[in-house]
């Protein structure tokens, strides 16, 4: 198979995967970061009734006409209305009502005056209004914020705390969300030794499960981590076959290059996986093998940690983004100015970097096996084959 560009490769996989259709109703307070499954309209106004924005006195604007400091209008305080209450008594002319922030306006009152702007007399039984109060002054009308029937959230929006607070204000206890895709992660390699025990000679600890697994978690997924597997094609094929139906995608690491134990070529044959591509014309992460098995993408990344991460960012993230209806996981690019030099190489490269304020810094060492310098990076610089770039040159950055 020909090596192809990351863009072609991604296109091949995106052409074969579909947004997960299933949705479920979950409690609003558990839906942070989930994708809204339906368009939601406002069932009620917000505020639900005409209410006072301050503590003070509700009155009829007409009763304050002509009031001034030298000619204050004396109003009788006919009662009190607290937030949450309904004032039911009938008001006479020159009646005011003590009203608290958030309380519903008594019928007949069309404005309020803040308590610091009136003189309270007779132990609170009367107030002196020292200036005219306009109709609807200090008056919040029902629906001023949200009108009943108004579009609140479109299907497909990712729910932030603000969206969910709006749903709560509208009285929703549940919200329809797209089901979260279940992503499997299978790390393979005879060289992988378990953490927390001494390292046998020739072996390495498994960092890919953490690197890729927690990157998925950071993006809002809860991956199913499969037990580490050795380099035996038949066993790996059987494992995949047993688990694929419960997954929406399976991501693997290791065994996708040209070595004798690069078993995924055989795994694909054993299972009859529909192969989409093998290898990108870029590095690191060029050794990536992708196919479709029983309708699910099988995305096989390199075992070299940074190569695995690069393959994840270039291919896996946008693919699982499509499955999860997460537009924010599509490839996002930005032009940046390099803060460092890069020699020309005969192959397109993706260089780990940190971009801030339009500049990109990058480590001098960025081999695919190196993990220390991944810390703090937030993008991949896309360096074309043959390009020698120096400080101040522009390059395209793919943002994590």
């Amino acid at each position: 198979m020909e090596k192809i560009s990351a863009e072609e490769a991604l296109g091949l996989v995106l052409g074969k995967v579909y947004p997960k259709q299933e949705s479920q109703n979950i409690p609003v307070n558990e839906a942070l970061g989930r994708v809204c499954a339906d368009t939601v309209y406002a069932p009620i106004d917000n505020p639900p009734f005409d209410r006072s924005p301050f503590d003070g006195f509700a009155l009829r604007s007409a009763d304050s006409t002509g009031a001034s400091p030298s000619n204050p209008m004396r109003l009788r305080v006919a009662g009190t209305v607290y937030a949450g209450d309904v004032y039911t008594k009938r008001l006479e002319q020159k009646d005011a009502v003590r009203i608290m922030t958030g309380a519903m306006f008594p019928t007949g009152c069309d404005c309020m005056v803040m308590q610091e702007n009136v003189r309270i007399e007779n132990g609170g039984a009367e107030i002196l209004v020292t200036g005219p109060v306009g109709s609807y002054e200090n008056y919040v009308r029902a629906g001023e914020d949200i009108r009943k029937g108004q579009l609140l959230i479109e299907a497909g929006e990712r729910l932030s705390f603000a969206h969910l607070a709006i749903l709560s204000a509208m009285g929703f206890a549940y919200v329809p969300v797209k089901n979260l895709p279940l992503l499997g992660l299978l790390c393979t390699g005879d060289e992988l030794a378990p953490a927390g025990k001494p390292l046998p000679p020739g072996k390495i600890y498994n960092s890919n499960e953490t690197l890729i697994g927690l990157r998925m978690r950071e993006l809002g997924f809860v991956p199913k981590i499969l037990p580490v597997s050795g380099d035996e094609a038949g066993m790996v094929a059987a494992k995949i076959d047993a688990v694929i139906e419960e997954l929406d995608a399976l991501i693997t690491t290791g065994a996708v290059s040209v070595g004798e134990k690069d078993i995924f070529h055989d795994v694909f044959k054993i299972l009859g996986v529909e192969k989409l591509f093998w290898r990108l014309n870029s590095k690191p992460g060029g050794a990536i093998l992708c196919g479709i098995y029983r309708g699910r993408p099988l995305l096989c990344l390199s075992g070299n940690p940074f190569a695995a991460l690069t393959g994840f960012e270039l291919i896996v993230k946008p693919v699982i983004g499509k499955i999860a209806s997460r537009d924010d996981l599509a490839i996002r690019k930005q032009r940046v100015k390099l803060d460092g030099d890069l020699d020309a190489k005969p192959i397109r490269r993706f260089i780990r970097a940190r971009t801030e304020d339009g500049k990109a810094k990058f480590p001098t060492e960025h081999m695919s096996g190196q993990i220390f310098s991944i810390v703090g990076c937030n993008c991949l610089l896309d360096i074309p084959a043959g390009a020698a770039l120096s400080t101040g040159s522009e390059a395209e950055a793919l943002l994590y």
Copy 2:
């Protein structure tokens, strides 16, 4: 009590709270976003041994001296070493070893040649090397990425997937992290009605629990949500008293203004809370009351949703950031250019806005009770008292 600036107010609370000292060991794969409690040094080299970066043949550089396409050197393939294995046979002169990516170099070999760059003969028993291979060419030395004893993570760093992958590569199964502060959230108000049921007249649904609770979750906390409380000071005081010892901070909403049911003034008296301040000289969110009760901050926000959120961003976030040892939660400011006009007001204001590429857009309606326009905002514009600003003017933005 005098109204004070948000900065003074924050200083008063920060002077009374301390980083939580307790830490615990948790599995590396569950530590995403947690704060590392100890400085961590590398217990081993990474890679742990000299290893091959490619599939091909390991050899002694000296055995390739003088090789050229017209004068290839013939080497015997003495065996194979896979990733995870140790090659133990003694090598003779002109011996090569088939080696896979990630495999440990056999003793005596100081370089390797990629398999695509040699001629394989006699069914793999011999290879022809057609050019000299330098000493340490295609050779990854132990410790090239991480050297044993090297500083890996400083105490206080927030653990990203990259940090945790490094810990996994080093064989750590557990990582020491600061205990997550337990933050209580208590929403108060007789006007609050439960979600999922019809709204009685005069009542509103509780959006603050979602707004503030999920904002805390977004920041990495798992708040303890207390049942909504009515406006009765004695009951609220008893509730706080019963729960405060298990919390690191308690955040409340509602009942902190000047109205008759603004019970938190009484709650503070009943409990003997050490009052730090009441009210900021800014709005919205100016109605905020803070104190220290039994060593814990009691941070009482307005019941108006956006006022509550503003108080949260100005005061609560940096305070819980200090308790959680989270530097990233300190106030972060940025100069932005306004994309809209703002009339002068006699009081300092914090206006919800969205900043992107140095510009800030903001809704025309931004009253404290309005929640719809909180969606998409990512900062608060800090507009000084008396300032009239128009499109293109600069202002300070506090980033969420």
